[in-house]
């Protein structure tokens, strides 16, 4: 089976940012995403999101360039003040050209 190697970018962040992050990553070039509800602990304790329900875990399969763009956006805009983590892995995707 022919697969394409893409970047799988995973972002976990406060629910309240969900809409904004999805809008931005779509602008940057993501063609799709998968969301799951998550809770977690990191360096910050409190967030407004307890009231807003759990955090959101966003996974998006994108090209290398788009992955870089997403990381840059998050680093520049969200890292300082919000609870957010982002990491990148490789994934072999079937029908991969659909996602670039």
């Amino acid at each position: 089976m022919k697969t394409t190697t893409l970047k799988l970018v995973t972002i976990v962040t406060e629910r309240i940012l969900e809409e904004r992050v999805l809008r931005k990553i779509t602008e940057i070039g993501a063609r799709g995403y998968t969301l799951t509800k998550a809770t977690g602990k990191g360096s910050r304790g409190v967030r407004a999101s307890e009231w807003e329900g759990p955090d959101t875990r966003i996974e998006t399969l994108v090209s290398s360039d788009v992955a870089d763009g997403i990381i840059e956006y998050i680093s520049d805009n969200l890292f300082e003040h919000y609870a957010v983590i982002v990491y990148v892995q490789e994934a072999h995707v079937v029908r991969g050209d659909k996602y670039i």
């Binding site: 309240i16 304790g45 409190v46 967030r47 307890e50 009231w51 003040h81």
Partner: protein, 320 residues
């Protein structure tokens, strides 16, 4: 003496005891906890129910009767974030951002504190005006706008002012309260009748269950007490009392009954923990959530529903 009896009757009512049970369960690391969709659903139910009931009452009330209370409530929604801000800045030496973040919470309102205040009255034979839920709707938004204006006028901020405003105005609590009010007002008592068993019969029990979960949530906030310092703890008790007294006094002048003034006092004294935190998190991400959430939920909320509300009633009676 009699006041102590009333206080005790409040502290020993099942609603408050369930709140205490929630706190205890959480401190004992119990797995007791409402599933979050249920907690969510109860919030929707309670907000919608008070909106609808308020609207049905408005339908029956001549404008002349609630215009003054409404104006006064609006005024209090503008004044209280300013007093809170100044106390925090001048006496508490908070920086501008955290001061306005906290002020947004104390200017806005906690719907549950409102409901508990109404229930407390009913339990003691004092019925407040049926249109009081409309005051909750009036009180919710302006303070948040005022407080964010304070924060945004002087400097550029990391957060988004527009997004925050949308978050408040299109937020669940405004939609349900205001939507409920309008629907209740349009459909009136006859239209409301078929659905009233659902929204009235179960109301207090649903509130009781809700307070169980509020206890669990409050307990988590108590951890923040160590961090926030003595000033904020004192602030979370004294400023609500002052706001409450001011509101009762103005409410009395606006023609509200004893119970009505006391309920107005309770709501003005209360601090938002749904609409305000969401808006502040978006508009002022630099503000420290531990401060405003601990103050609002860890201090003022439990203070108000246990001791504050009896005080507001006592003051309203004394004023008469």
């Amino acid at each position: 003496m009699e006041h102590i009896g009333v206080l005790a009757s409040n502290l020993l009512s099942p609603i408050i005891l369930l709140f205490v049970l929630g706190i205890l369960a959480s401190l004992l690391k119990s797995d007791l906890k409402l599933p979050s969709p249920l907690y969510n659903g109860l919030t929707i139910y309670l907000l919608l129910a008070i909106g609808l009931k308020g609207g049905v009452e408005l339908h029956k009330t001549p404008v002349s009767e609630f215009i003054w209370p409404a104006l006064i409530t609006l005024l209090l929604g503008i004044i209280t974030p300013i007093t809170a801000y100044n106390v925090l800045r001048r006496l508490g030496r908070f920086d501008r951002i955290n001061a306005s973040a906290i002020a947004a919470h104390y200017g806005s309102v906690s719907a549950v504190t409102f409901i508990v205040a109404v229930s407390f009255g009913t339990m003691n034979g004092l019925t407040s005006e049926g249109f009081m839920p409309a005051m909750v709707a009036i009180l919710e938004v302006p303070a948040i706008v005022v407080a964010l204006m304070i924060a945004f006028t002087r400097e550029k901020r990391a957060g988004s002012w527009q997004e925050a405003l949308h978050e408040v105005l299109a937020g669940r609590s405004v939609m349900l309260l205001l939507g409920g009010l309008i629907i209740g007002w349009i459909s009136g008592p006859d239209g409301f009748e078929p659905i009233s068993p659902f929204f009235e019969t179960g109301f207090k029990g649903a509130l009781a269950l809700f307070l169980l979960e509020m206890g669990v949530i409050t307990a988590k906030r108590l951890e923040g007490l160590k961090e926030v310092g003595g000033f904020l703890i004192a602030f979370g008790i004294i400023v609500p009392i002052l706001h409450g007294i001011l509101a009762i006094w103005l409410g009395n002048m606006a023609g509200l009954s004893v119970a009505g003034s006391a309920v107005l006092g309770a709501m003005v004294s209360s601090a938002s923990y749904i609409a305000a935190p969401a808006a502040v998190r978006i508009a002022l991400p630099e503000a420290n959530p531990t401060l405003y959430l601990t103050a609002s939920l860890g201090i003022t909320f439990p203070f108000n529903i246990t001791i504050g509300i009896p005080i507001y009633y006592a003051f309203a009676e004394w004023l008469l």
